[in-house]
């Protein structure tokens, strides 16, 4: 097939497939790729450090460690379901997201953050004294070491899957998974530390208490910071023609670091007053609003690709313009489509089937295959089953 034989819509579809990398498989094992070996070094180093850390008190603190793994393992499930629902448009393969998750959980936490935070916290104590470090040390340490440590996972994934990691939205989704990995592994670390701090007294009670505190504060935590930070990094890298915006990227990354600072230094910001309790409730809505603002801007390119991928299907009649708007649109577009159909279930099925068709077209590189024909037939069946 040549470009000259394609209609303008077909050419746009072809360009969207090329640019987005959608449909490309993700292979983790790439011995010819230096990024693979650096990943192995980071996760291997992190795993060794983790075993040493937990192994030192594995006997006495086993109940706390087991409780932490169990509680935060359960905590992970709704998070994965939430992030899965956000992995829309040109969806990232599960293997790539899992690779990011384990970088965040093992390499960023135990290989980078653990030694780097210890050293930098001590530097702040030496420079400003123990009181200064207690008030501000965590907030001046974690946003630097942890945000960069996590974002390095995104850079490695660009090296491992350069065609798959292209847009700011890719950075947003991958960043969220890296951040989630960091968050859950760090939470287990905190449960362990809590048991050590209390000399192994009432480990179950300490674990549950830490689970409730960290679980609640985790709603606006590492997953959110990393999603914003990594979207900003992708705007700076500009891996899609026309998407580079260095100023926006830098400001977005700084925003994530400021959010991380306020999360860590509530005690210092609240100056021991009632603000310590009030501030998290004031900051959470601001951080969530910023998250959705970044998400909306980051999704712009992905929405264009999805539209270009499916536009030729409007001509064939497989998709109507309203469904195209919904599948390539924002939440409000999907809501409008749902109202138009008067059925939440039907609109969800049609949007998912249209998304399946887009995926099959991309996997087939725009060619007509049996799976593309089947995805189209499924869409037709659902539309006719009114």
């Amino acid at each position: 097939m040549t470009g000259a034989a394609l209609s303008p819509a077909g050419q746009a579809q072809r360009a969207a497939i090329q640019q987005s990398g959608w449909g490309q498989p993700f292979r983790f094992f790439q011995p010819h790729n230096l990024a693979f070996w650096v990943y192995v070094l980071g996760v291997g180093g992190g795993a060794l450090s983790m075993v040493r850390y937990f192994g030192s008190g594995a006997g006495l603190y086993r109940p706390a460690l087991a409780g932490g793994v169990l509680l935060f393992g359960i905590y992970l499930v709704p998070w994965l379901l939430l992030l899965r629902s956000q992995n829309r448009y040109t969806k990232q393969p599960a293997g790539l997201l899992a690779t990011g998750f384990f970088w965040g959980g093992i390499a960023a936490t135990f290989w980078i953050a653990l030694p780097a935070n210890t050293a930098l916290l001590e530097i702040w104590t030496k420079v400003g004294g123990t009181s200064f470090a207690a008030n501000w040390g965590a907030g001046l340490t974690a946003p630097i070491n942890e945000e960069w440590g996590k974002a390095l996972g995104l850079v490695l994934l660009i090296g491992l899957a350069p065609r798959l990691v292209r847009s700011a939205y890719d950075g947003f989704i991958i960043g969220a998974f890296i951040g989630l990995g960091f968050e859950v592994f760090e939470d287990v670390l905190y449960v362990f530390n809590g048991a050590v701090q209390s000399f192994g007294v009432d480990e179950a009670g300490t674990s549950l208490q830490l689970f409730l505190v960290r679980g609640a504060s985790g709603i606006v935590s590492h997953a959110l910071f990393s999603a914003i930070f990594c979207a900003g990094l992708m705007w700076i890298l500009g891996r899609v023609p026309g998407e580079r915006n260095v100023l926006r990227g830098v400001l977005t990354m700084l925003l994530a670091m400021v959010f991380h600072f306020t999360w860590d230094d509530v005690t210092g910001l609240g100056a021991g007053s009632v603000l310590v309790i009030v501030l998290p409730f004031v900051l959470a809505p601001i951080e969530l609003a910023a998250l959705f603002y970044v998400l909306r801007h980051a999704a712009r390119q992905e929405r264009v690709w999805t539209r270009e991928l499916l536009e030729p299907e409007v001509e064939t009649g497989a998709i109507d313009p309203a469904l195209l708007d919904a599948v390539s649109g924002l939440r409000r577009d999907r809501k409008r489509y749902r109202k138009q159909l008067h059925s939440r279930r039907r609109s969800r099925h049609l949007i998912e089937a249209a998304s399946d068709l887009a995926h099959e077209i991309a996997v087939a590189d725009g060619a007509e295959t049996r799976r593309v024909a089947h995805a189209r037939a499924e869409l037709t069946r659902l539309r006719e089953a009114a």
Binding site: H32, L41, L60, W111, A116, T130, S198, V201, D202
Partner: protein, 215 residues
Amino acid sequence: MTDARDSPPAWVPVEHRWFGLDRRTFRPALIVLVISLLLVYGWQAVDAAIPWHNEIKAGDVLDLGGGATAVPPVGWQLESGTLVGATPAESPTSLDVLLASGGATIELRGAAFNGTAAAFLDQAERADGDDDRPAVDGSRGTVTTEAGLVGVAQSSTSPGGDRLDAAFKTATGTSQAVAAAPALLVRVRTAPGQFEQHSDEVSALLRSITPEVDQ
């Protein structure tokens, strides 16, 4: 002619090969490697280059949380913990104070513990159970502070160094009040044979510990 998209997945064009690796993958990998090493070892190098200058001065008093205090030895470096009057105020159940001087350290740790000081010392020793180096333990003794707190102390010596652990409940009064009060563990570690050199300072610190103030 085929483009890169059509080439087999692991195929590396000959001009990009270097000892079995694809040179095109070097840039992101090396960026990550360099930044990671800077974060891990760079901060440690900076930390090692900066000396401590957080010396305890005459008149300084340590905040042990809940109104409890102790007088630290003058000239030691305060590496962790808060002095009375500084913020944030310490919590008696998550206290972690570290003083250091010439290879010797004094650590004061607080925890919630329902029971006697002796039972708390047993629990703390169980938590230290991984240290199975041969050591000669002294007998347990009673330590009484000037404010009337009664604690239990245990010393030991080994080729790894000399150690003293002293446990207190930070309250005086009825046995129920003492049992419910937070526990305090004072850990002293020195190089082998060096404890005697610091024993006066350690004794003065132990005697200076005051109980919590009823809020």
